[in-house]
């Protein structure tokens, strides 16, 4: 739960501008981007996600490094991805 996981913004949900669909290691889920309302990310940009909320924008190099770090953690990241897979934020 404390892990920050990188996701690529795919699209914003129509009529819900604070929700966006992101891709995290091939898992596509909806997250809340309200914490970035000062400088909203564009589709194609990367964000660091904590418990369903984008906390900061990151560049692609940082996203790749963060993913590698998480994959190295093993079980904890798999648990986090499994939890994300079950998540149905609206």
């Amino acid at each position: 739960m404390c892990l920050g996981i990188p996701g690529e913004v795919i699209e914003f949900l129509p009529e819900q501008p604070d929700l966006a669909r992101v891709d995290v290691s091939g898992v596509r889920r909806v997250i809340n981007v309200g914490l970035l309302s000062d400088e909203p990310p564009e589709p194609g940009e990367w964000v660091l996600i904590h418990v369903g909320f984008a906390l900061s924008k990151i560049d692609e190099a940082e996203a790749a490094a963060a993913l590698e770090f998480l994959e190295g953690i093993g079980q904890a990241y798999e648990d986090e991805l499994a939890a994300l897979r079950d998540s149905k934020i609206e």
């Binding site: 914490l35 418990v51 940082e62 490094a65």
Partner: protein, 380 residues
């Protein structure tokens, strides 16, 4: 993978190690604390201590949110979950944390309904789908997760959801660092500042450490080279007699943090007069509770919470480990009675806990493990 090699180049790591060694003054011992559990994980996964001179010791701090929750709060949460019509929701990390009468998983075997969720927003969704139930979210974490709870409460109010509340256990990192600085047990020379907490609070809140306590702070990223570079920056400050706050992780951490997140926390939550931390005891103004204006979302007001106080198990020395006084292998039950499968203390439960990091990477002493270096750091 070109991106990743940039952060893991073994030659760069050895070059940094040599520069760190060159900064050591003969006869002086250096103790640097990494506050964040994510950093502890990187240090042991990559065997970074093996790169450091004998005179530089890394001390693991209290920055693992699961590890600092006292047993009494787990008991209180189970009590809440036992009330009629309650669905308790919690991050998966909390499910195995032992209270005095077992963990959430054990409580569920006795009939409570404690569901694992990924996000507080999932908890809110459960509340909307179950209007005849009272859904309580077990909120834990430092400033990294507090904004998510705050935003969820704001959303619940905007959507008029009335059967959702928060059992607030959010803690704040600065008072914990101050408690460690004031502790007579430990003399530290500097701090590797947390990465993700700082994306929210920024770097300014650490300035008192540099100004009032004269200790350098460097906010660091999570890659092995990030940590070695941060250690180099700390050692350089110490060598030059400076104590400043520096930001090694500026590619993610803005100096002023995330103002939207800070505003959401400030709108919905306020500091408690005091809060009990596992191992550190009661620390004043170190945790958050719901503001009065959001009392209708405060599980501590909506339900009777017994406020259980439970002493940690006698054999467990998590307190000393969290303060950095003991290394995990120095605890009497480490790796014997206490393992990740059957944890006695919280430091063994969470993958970010120092004990779990040591255990999982086979660190039983500070003896050098040369193969760790060649395996974990990729060659260019």
């Amino acid at each position: 993978m070109r991106f990743v090699d940039e952060f893991r180049d073994a030659d760069k790591a050895h070059a940094l190690a040599a520069r760190i060694a060159a900064l050591c003054e003969p006869g002086r011992q250096y103790k640097l604390m990494e506050v964040c559990g994510g950093h502890t994980h990187t240090i042991y996964k990559h065997g970074l201590e093996d790169y450091l001179p004998e005179s530089v010791t890394l001390v693991h701090g209290p920055g693992c949110p699961v590890c600092v929750i006292p047993m009494g709060r787990v008991d209180d949460a189970i009590h809440l979950a036992s009330q009629p019509d309650v669905i308790m929701t919690s991050f998966g990390d909390m499910m195995r944390v032992p209270g005095s009468n077992g963990a959430f998983f054990d409580a569920n075997a006795r009939g409570t309904n404690i569901k694992m969720v990924y996000s507080p927003l999932d908890s809110l969704k459960i509340a909307k789908a179950n209007p005849d139930k009272r859904v309580v979210f077990m909120a834990i974490g430092f400033e990294t997760t507090a904004p998510s709870t705050a935003m969820t409460v704001l959303r619940a109010r905007a959507q008029g959801v009335q059967n959702f509340s928060v059992f607030c256990n959010h803690v704040t990192i600065i008072p914990a660092i101050k408690a460690i600085l004031d502790s007579p047990d430990l003399r530290l020379d500097g701090f590797i500042g947390p990465g993700h907490v700082s994306t929210v609070i920024g770097c300014r809140p650490y300035e008192f450490i540099a100004k009032s306590y004269g200790k350098p702070v460097v906010t660091a990223g999570f890659e092995p080279l990030d940590i070695l570079q941060s250690i180099y920056m700390l050692m350089l400050q110490l060598r030059e007699g400076r104590s400043e706050v520096e930001n090694q992780y500026s590619r993610v951490v803005p100096w002023d943090g995330n103002p939207v997140a800070l505003k959401a926390i400030g709108e919905t939550m306020e500091l408690r007069p005091y809060f009990e931390w596992r191992g550190l005891g009661f620390i004043s103004h170190s945790a958050l509770k719901m503001r009065e204006a959001y009392a209708d979302f405060d599980a501590e007001l909506l339900f009777e919470v017994p406020g259980v106080r439970v002493a940690d198990p006698k054999a467990c020395q998590c307190g000393e480990v969290l303060k950095g006084v003991l290394k995990p292998w120095e605890c009497k039950v480490f790796g014997t009675a206490c393992t990740p499968e059957t944890p006695i203390g919280t430091c063994m439960v969470s993958p970010e806990g120092a004990c779990a990091a040591y255990y999982n990477y086979g660190r039983m002493t500070r003896q050098r493990v040369p193969e760790a270096i060649s395996i974990e750091l990729s060659r260019p």
